[in-house]
Amino acid sequence: MSMREKQLNNDLFQPAVISMEASEKITEESTSFWQDARRRLFENKGSVAGLIIIAVILLFAFLGPVLSQYGFDDQDVSRANLPPRIPVLEKVGFLGIDGVDIRGVNQYEMKNQKDNYYWFGTDALGRDQFVRVWKGTQISLYIAFLAAAIDMVIGVAYGAISGYRGGRTDNIMQRIIEIVIGIPNLIVIILFILILEPGILSITISLVITGWTTMARIVRGQILKLKNQEFVMASQTLGANSSRILTKHMFPNILGSIIITSMFTIPNAIFFEAFLSFIGLGIAPPTASLGSLVNEGFKSLQIYPHLVLYPAVIISLIMISFNLLGDGLRDALDPKMRK
């Protein structure tokens, strides 16, 4: 008892300093919105996996054709229809990349190609499938990114004008959108490809013709929401003109939605390009895209499954990665939209 009293005497205590400054002091460094979003994005395993796969595929798409000694249209019938064969890994039997076809014949020995390695095999004209697949990936990705970029420019401009001007302008612009949305994109795309020469640019144009509406609608919705907020009114009161308000105050606030929407445009564009190539309206040979490679491969699915396998796997991986990344970005940039 006496011990405890001794321990707790008044000398042990000091009066606390009441200071406004100290209580307002920020001990941790403040995180900006983008830092916060990045943290949330990297916490999401799915989107990290998606990012890594996209990075690897991009790397291969650009390095693959450069590193190989073959061109994407080098034909040589003496080495036609070779199954895939990869050095070192060919020793591992069950992987099926030892140059032996499905009938159990080593085609490399049959065709005197013992010293050559075609990682993904060769097609009916003896073109190296490895180079063709990565060249095709390049083209598919190029179309997708181009379509997403054009969609973004048109959609943001249209949506911003429609939402910001409001009134009659908005009314007319929205009626136009409603009609465009009513027209099925598949139909427009097919018709446009028929009119234009099949090629990268015409595929992109036909994708954009119906694709921009999604972006325009989302941007308009966001602008409408922001238009009546206090910070915009404050800026208006201070005499800022429309372009300043749009670029300095509204644009940073809707950037998240724009990025999310674009992320979902890309896999969509890749799918439609593949779809068009698949029904015979896509890229004209000898150029290849992932879709046209799959389409070509289907013709000999039963005898040479490797021709379908690699482009199909890569297109699936791209689609999965972009969807995962898109989901992750949506959660990271707009927690309210979280599903």
Binding site: G46, E178, I179, G182, I183, P184, L186, I187, I190, L191, F192, L194, I195, P267, F271, A274, F275, F278, I279, G280, L281, V294, F298, L301, Q302, P305, V308, A312, I315, S316, M319, I320, F322, N323, L324, D327, K339
Partner: protein, 309 residues
């Protein structure tokens, strides 16, 4: 409600008018006439052929003729298949496509709903992760990849089901399955989100605290409310199914409308392309209209908002 439906109908007509005109003029922009490829034709013969099909008339006259015939249900005749009327060609081919689409929708919706409900009820467990993974894969992986996999492994390697063609119920399984993957994935994903939201509502707690059995709470209170928004994805799903039939019918050689459409594109059979385009557009637009109206009927809040607007 009536005003809402009428407004939607008006939009539908405008859209249809634009699509048909657009299709017509785009077709006119195409270089050459349908008979250019026939090397043996003399100029006089070509003239006679063009005269027969009304292709020598000025474009506006052709346009009014085409629109007039269209209103009567006459879509012209095929250039490739011995002057067969396009409308009969479509009528003959629509059967397998419709059957395939309906089978895929029913199967896909049921499986998708079950997956979504299970995932939500077992939130953050293995069942949830498996179902979510399946949903991401189903949405991402293109249907032709699935179709190819099924065809190769089930059809060729295991030899369980026919690889292609259309000759009895056995032939339906693989194409309908490949077509339904996207439906399953979309429905499962959407249903999971909606169920999770509904399960967090106060009235679920109320229902539970009233002592209702688990099954009643799940079925009567959760699932039925979660189903309402699922109706909205039916429109986009139907559109996706039509795109899907083009691919799936080609892979499995199903003699449906999609297969014919892809064929007519390769053959440059313009009347068939045009008619099928318009037919598909009508399907799209009608589906979207039905979904809109259905949604208004199911959810009274939307009807009220629509009536005011």
């Amino acid at each position: 409600m009536v005003r809402f439906v009428l407004k939607r109908m008006l939009y539908m007509l405008i859209t249809l008018f634009i699509i048909t005109s657009f299709t017509f003029f785009l077709m006119k922009l195409l270089p050459g006439s349908p008979f250019n490829n026939e090397e043996k034709l003399t100029d006089a013969q070509k003239f006679i052929l063009n005269e027969k099909y009304g292709l020598n008339d000025p474009v506006p006259v052709q346009y009014f003729n085409y629109m007039g015939n269209l209103l009567k249900g006459d879509m012209g005749v095929s250039f490739q298949y011995d002057n067969r009327p396009v409308s009969t060609m479509i009528a003959e081919r629509i059967g397998p496509s419709a059957v395939l689409g309906i089978e895929a929708t029913i199967f896909g919706t049921i499986i998708g709903l079950i997956l979504g409900i299970v995932a939500a009820l077992r939130h953050n467990t293995a069942a949830d992760y498996v179902s979510s993974l399946f949903a991401v894969l189903g949405i991402s992986i293109p249907s032709f990849v699935f179709a190819g996999l099924l065809q190769y492994y089930v059809g060729v390697k295991l030899d369980w089901l026919p690889v292609a063609l259309w000759d009895g119920p056995k032939y339906h399984v693989l194409p309908a399955l490949s077509l339904s993957v996207f439906v399953i994935a979309t429905v499962a994903r959407f249903m999971r989100t909606e169920m999770l939201e509904v399960l967090g509502q106060d009235y679920i707690t109320t229902a539970k605290s009233k002592g209702l059995s688990k099954l009643v709470v799940i079925y009567k209170h959760s699932v039925r409310n979660a189903l309402i928004p699922v109706v909205t994805i039916l429109g986009p799903l139907a559109i996706n199914l039509i795109t899907g039939t083009l691919i799936i019918e080609k892979i499995f050689a199903v003699p449906g409308l999609g297969y014919q459409f892809v064929g007519s594109i390769t053959l440059n059979d313009y009347p068939v392309i045009m008619a099928t385009t318009i037919f598909y557009s009508v399907c799209f637009i009608v589906v979207i209209l039905i979904v809109d109206i259905l949604y208004g009927i199911i959810d009274p809040r939307i009807r009220v908002a629509g009536g005011k607007g």
